[in-house]
């Protein structure tokens, strides 16, 4: 890392620069680059000006991912389906973990779909610099555009998987399974927002560390897999021994997964206090993550 902080890039779009003519005012500078940046300078306005880029990144990720594959976007469905089947067999049939009386298949699928969104966003965000090192070294644009585009493109994947999940839900309901969707459904946007915020916050913190310590890159991949067992993906919190419950509840993702599952399937609802805890946790981790991101992005080019 270099001496000094990041640059303060004040990119004020003056009317003159919008018109494409250089400003003739003697003391007006459109761009001032100097060291030391304020600790919490989100530059959201700048990110907003680059919204087209964010959407093009989303499109790129979507189009490029499944080019030259036979099944194409079907993979978005195959992945959670195979995972759900595996979980149903291993945890449902063999280990016989209780599912609060819900159909095992739907229970695991809800958990998998939600968890996949978080896990993918986290892993991909933490790889932002490594994946884009060449690009970042050559051109300036708000670096946050990349993680934000990751959140959005995975939201599309999530939507596809979610519709698939709803289809199974309808199928099970028609067959008379005891499913009770309830007003918690209205919380869906907030749950998604919390999850995206957590993924972005954690992702950027890991990102900041991986730029300095490469070993963490290996850790994150299998770490995320292990982390899944610390969240109620394959079990429900209420079925745990009382001693373990607080540990799992401390995980801010737990209440989100539980709330999600409860909203669409019924069963045991997490308390609103729990959800508030997750939301608060998200805000804190997001702020920390973005501050760290701003510190690192300015000079990461020199270290990677």
């Amino acid at each position: 890392m270099t001496e000094g902080g990041g640059p303060t890039t004040d990119r004020t779009p003056s009317p003159s620069s919008v018109l494409g003519h250089p400003s003739s005012l003697p003391d007006h500078w459109d761009l001032v680059i100097r060291p030391h940046r304020k600790w919490f300078d989100l530059k959201l306005g700048e990110l907003w000006r680059y919204r087209d880029l964010v959407m093009l990144f989303v499109r790129r990720d979507f189009v490029a991912l499944y080019k030259q594959t036979i099944l194409g976007p079907l993979w978005y469905i195959i992945q959670p389906l195979l995972t759900t089947i595996t979980f149903t067999i291993v945890f449902g049939r063999i280990a016989r973990l209780p599912t609060n009386g819900l159909p095992q298949f739907l229970f695991y699928m809800a958990g998998t779909v939600v968890w996949t969104y978080f896990a993918t966003c986290l892993t991909k965000t933490s790889e932002t610099f490594v994946q884009n090192a060449q690009l970042f070294g050559k051109v300036y644009f708000p670096r946050l555009a990349v993680p934000v585009s990751i959140l959005i493109s995975n939201l599309i994947a999530f939507a596809i998987q979610f519709v698939f999940f709803l289809a199974f839900m309808v199928y099970f309901a028609l067959r008379g399974s005891p499913i009770r969707p309830n007003p918690y459904i209205l919380l869906t946007p907030i749950l998604l927002l919390t999850m995206a915020g957590l993924a972005l916050g954690f992702g950027t913190i890991v990102l900041a560390l991986t730029t300095k310590y490469r070993d963490l890159r290996f850790l994150i991949h299998f770490g995320v897999q292990l982390l899944m067992y610390a969240a109620p993906v394959v079990y429900s919190t209420s079925s745990l021994p009382p001693g373990l419950q607080p540990i799992v509840r401390a995980n801010p993702l737990s209440s989100i997964i539980e709330a999600f599952r409860y909203a669409y399937l019924g069963g045991v609802a997490p308390s609103l206090g729990q959800l508030a805890y997750s939301f608060g946790f998200m805000v804190v981790i997001l702020v920390v993550g973005i501050v760290v991101f701003n510190r690192v992005e300015a000079t990461f080019v020199d270290t990677v």
Binding site: M1, S17, P22, V32, F57, V63, R214, D215, D302
Partner: protein
Amino acid sequence: MPSTVISVEHLSKSYRLGQIGTGRLVDDLKIWWAKARGKPNPLAKIGQQDLRRNDQEPRTKNHKPDNRDGEIIWALKDINFEVKQGEILGIIGRNGAGKSTLLKIMTGVTAPTSGQIKAKGRVASLLEVGTGFHPELTGRENIYLNGAILGMKKVEIARKFDEIVAFSEVEQFIDTPVKRYSSGMYVRLAFAVAAHLDPEILLVDEVLAVGDAAFQKKCLGKMGDVASGGRTVLFVSHNMTAVRGLCQRAVLLRDGRLVQSGVAADVIGNYLGEILNRGDATLLADRRDRQGSGVVKVTGMRVGTRTDPASGHWITGEDAVAEVDYACDGTNGLRNVVVAIGVRRLDQSPMLYLGSEVVRFNIDWIEGTGTFVCVIKRLPLESGRFSLNVDIEQNKVLADRVNAALVLDVAEGDYYGTGVVWPFSGFLCDYTWSHAKGVKPAASR
């Protein structure tokens, strides 16, 4: 009087080795633990060696003793200059002088350590065209993506789309993934996007090294247009002919400091003097500014005459000899090798290409180390100074290339064997004169 659009004030950029860390959490923790107990850094040496080895980034480029200040390396130190509106400013200097770091700071890619840059209007860069191109996407999709990366809005790109495609000359393939493009098409498309950015300030770094001659001409023309339209261009290049042709003013950087700023021709003269002294300073084998896969490397080069193959100079009209020593990487031999020497003027404009493939000298197999020898019969170069590039290809893949591997003097000689030497004739060749008396017959042409 045109106004100042870029003002660089006391700009410095340093890389502090100590702060980079070892790159391994465990080692950093060990150092931290030792510090906490008041013990010396247990890994001091290892840490530094690690840094050296992992270093491809700018921080090693400048590891000259005079550039080091304890553990701090100054890539740029106290740079000051101003650029007026509509000016094309050349930025020249040897590899590692800080040219690219300067442009990187200007684009906002990396932060300065102290000082500041002020600019009026939108700044856009052509730091290696085609960054952000995705091979799987079509030409059309990449135009939009690349345009957005460079800071254009979608509507803006849509408006200029046809113009961009026409400029790039790849209309037919616009819906083909760019991975199927030839490298020429790829570069043309990438440059076309960048050229249509219409920024007030354009930063150009060595893009002109790519593409065919006709396209390069087009690019230079576009840059001229940009400047004549009241926009400002900062042009970083090693191609002194291009700098001389385009720029009125130039600045010369050396080891992170600005050593000269002024009329382009003067600054270029100074720079050319500087690169002459460089050949002696570094051994060819130790040169780091090389390209290629490295399966075989040029380890040494000698020039001379038949009688003294290592004399270091050639003589006009006498047989000239150039020897290229190579060493293969590893113990495996290599098939299908091509070696070539490029003779260039000091401003890097090409004079002569001496390639083994051109004269169909087949090198089927090389192994270990050895020497290629090239002999030019009756050297047809005038006296003067030239620089030699050398490259080795293996299976049509570049294995090693060193530009300006050697600078040599060609001494005046009697090419025609007549005792008459006519300087400044451009080039020399065999010719004869004849003479017919009386009226020339009308039929003969």
